[in-house]
Amino acid sequence: MGTLFFNGSALSNLALGAAALMSFGAAQNAWAASDPKAYEIASKVERTYQGYADETVDAVMTIKSGNGSKSSREFEMVTLEVVKGGDLRAVTFSAPTELDGFVSLSHTRFKTPDLQWVYLPEFDRVRRLSSRDKSGSFAGSEFSFEDIVRWELDRYDYEYVGPTKCKAKAGCEVLVNIPRYPHSGYARLVEVIDMSILKPIQITYYDKNNRELKRLEMTGYKKVGNGQMRPMNARMTNLRTGAVTDIKWSNYRFGKGFNQTNFKDTRIRDWAK
């Protein structure tokens, strides 16, 4: 589940998404092709969450390619939960210096390509980006753009795999998510959920040809802000090239009072300040 990368937990979003869908009575349709057991787990996870409206977090991302070449990025990410419709997200870079003030703004859509704008401070210009691909690399990292767009319930079908061994007291369960978006970079995502904290701890991504592509591991879950559980570290490993991207998350903040106006393309410059 893609969102794990940013707000730390696919299931927090899964839960939110599920809640949203049920409250709008769309659940039957959305889950039509899904396994009820997988849905039940998702529902359980859902109950441990609460809506957060907006979430802000700081990140230091280190990219290491298979040959040892390294670089890093620092950014702040703000996500606004939109109950009806896709989430809104602004990513603002602060380092390296040449990227200081670079803003990427995205409006998630279900069946059509996401809306996306960029602000390049050095040109002081805003451009709408037109692209259908969601598998693009996020800032040159192992995370793809698809991984950072918040997970939406509607986007996947689900399969239940079964329990697996892990350190968690309550054990772990494995689910498969199958993307519905035709231009997704993945055939499926296999997710391991820690049933004690009801959070995903590992996700394996399979490419369009159903071959193992990369693996995401999340560690250091902590209670932050208004009681939400978030991981402090996320590591994405490319299983083919050995390239690794590490993200250290810090300073989770919730409910800062952002609204949809903040995420309008005409207001994109505000994020750069």
Partner: protein
Amino acid sequence: MTLERRLGNRKEASLGRFANIMQNLLSILMKRPMAALLFGIMIAAVLSAGTANLGFRSDERVFFSESNEHLQRLRDFEARYGKDDTGVLVVHTPEGTLFTPEHLAALRKMTDDVWALDMVRRVDSPVAFQIAIGEGDEVIIDQLWREGDPTDSAYLKRIEGWAAQTPLLINRILSEDLATALISVTFEIPEEQSEDAPTVLTSVMRERVKQFQEDYPDLEISLSGSVALDSAFGEAAVSDSALLVPIMYTLLLGLMWLILGSWVPVFAAFLVISGAIGATLGIGGFIGIPLTSVSVISPFMITIIAVADVVHMSTAAFQKDATAQQSELGRERRHRAVEAALRKVSWPVLLTSLTTAVGFFSLIFSESPPFQHLGILAGIGTLLAMVFTFLILPTCLIVFPWRGRKRAASMQNVFKRIGYFVTARAKSSVISVLLIAVGIASFIFMNNLDDRYTRYFDNRFEFRQATDRMNSLIGGFYVVEYDLLAPEGTNAVSPAYLEDVDALAEFIRQQPGVTHVANHADRIKMVNRAFSGGQQDKYLIPSSQSQTAQLHEMYAMQLPYGLDLREQVLVDRSASRMTVSLDDRSTGEVLSLIDNAHVWAVENTPQLASSVVATGTTVMFSYIGMKNIENMILGTIVAFGAIAVFLLLVQRSLLIVSIAMLANVMPSLVALGAWGLLVGELGMAVSTIVATTLGIAVDDTIHLLTALRNRLKTMSDPREAVAEALGDAGPGMAITTFLLVVGFGILAISGFQINAWLGLMTAIVAIIALLFDLIFLPAVLFLLKTKY
């Protein structure tokens, strides 16, 4: 000193202990022939077991040793940018352009289809190219055309325009006339599968191509790329070993039967050859020598040498007993005939085997492992063929009844007459032979060294046809790569660096044969134009580092999986890659391009110059020919010295040995000169010719000198002795040369150029060497009489 003394007629003294040991061995052999036969078969069987360990390498890298600096540089490059194991679909429409609804859909379908192949890391194709286009405030960064996109003519005109203004696309994967596209599939082949993967992937892709061709009959589709190249090396090896070796084997044994008139030596030769080949490949397996498309021809050498050994020894036995020509001999007399034959020919057979083996072993000095392996295997095989000839042939000749065919007296007379003719005009013979030889040899420098590796394969290879098509339609099979380091204080998106890269790319574009130069400056220019509203006057590198960095980031963010920039720009941005595509160019032209680029960079972009060092497979092959020559000069000197020492063992005269060596080096030089006149193109195999043919050619000389020495024991007239010696040895020399020419001639019809030329060249040298032995050598030997 008399001629006789010069020829070292002091056999016992000169051979000393070796002769005694050999004498002892031979007498054991004669006492227990069956035991010898069984012993021989046993050795062959035991050693053959090693063939189970025999590996095969078909990748083009096998031509380069681990210590080869160009291979090391390529490895470093690949560690930074990834290894390009590619299969390239060449898609061409004979009419119109590819920008029609049907053709675009076909390209898309094929692109998506090959993505699903095993081990695919990346697929580059015009329709999947991530184009950056600016239209007002909108920046389109997307694949050029996907299923479901509009196909009306207005839209197609629009994307055609996009493609036409994108230098990263045109003439790299889409031809300028928009009629040819490349779908380039890059595979990530796990180390443990590197041996088989190219062949497997190629056959899978060929099947796809066949299917595509059926699905899209209006398009012409064929398969090239590096995995197809590797596969072709494998196919060449298979066709040479599974087709040519049996042909040669049968033909030589058949000719032997015709010449000798008895099936007994043919049967013995069959055993000797099988044993020698099996045991040699077995030893290769034990010591870990892989077979390659080159070393796979070692059975040719072994067979030819073994046949020569058997012919020499059998003829001697058949000549021994005159009555043998009328009726079959009893076992007793066969035994005596064999014993006498052994006494007569064992020494020359031993010696010729040693010199031949030394010639082959000298290939160890080659720069290229397949030639080293060929040398080792052929050298071992030569020695084993000799050993098995001694162990197997005498027993067969004793045990089985045979009837010898008398060598036609007329044949001996022909050679005698040649002897008289030559000695009668000795001086003019020597001078004219030398003049003609030097005259022809002087054309050696008309040979151009060229290792363009697609030409290793002739037109019967699918790979060759496809690659020629690719090179003529769009180019890009031959590629020169650069890893351009950003100078201290800058990075791969710094304007100063990009301007330098751009200038270098522009210079290289002007060089002959260059069809495309892919570089990061063009990418930044494309994105800048898109970001700045799409006007062509914005196709430039912005002057601010932050601007270029931000453009880079924006573009990189939109690239789908498998098309990211990691293979073009390092993650830490300390360097970027420049890929120069070429059309069908000789490796000499590649080398001058590389030199010109470096010289230009030193003068014009000094900051960049230190990393303007070319790499890639094309570059490695461009250097290998000359490097091989440099290395083989030493190898040839060593072989020359060793063979001279062997000759000195029998012929104690430095003068005669020197002349004999001259007579055997000249033929290869003459052959190379003639090659320069007639063909003019040589590959990396050429440097191995002199040493190996020296070892083979000198055999006839040894036989002639041995015969002359024997004649001088009873004759005092030098002219008569020389002529009679030629009568004695000439027929044998002619027959073995004939068999050699037939054997290597069959190798010459190989579709694999390295082996074909090796065979052709060796056959030519053998003929010229025979002429030297028949004209030059007798004349010189006769002239030397005046010295006493």
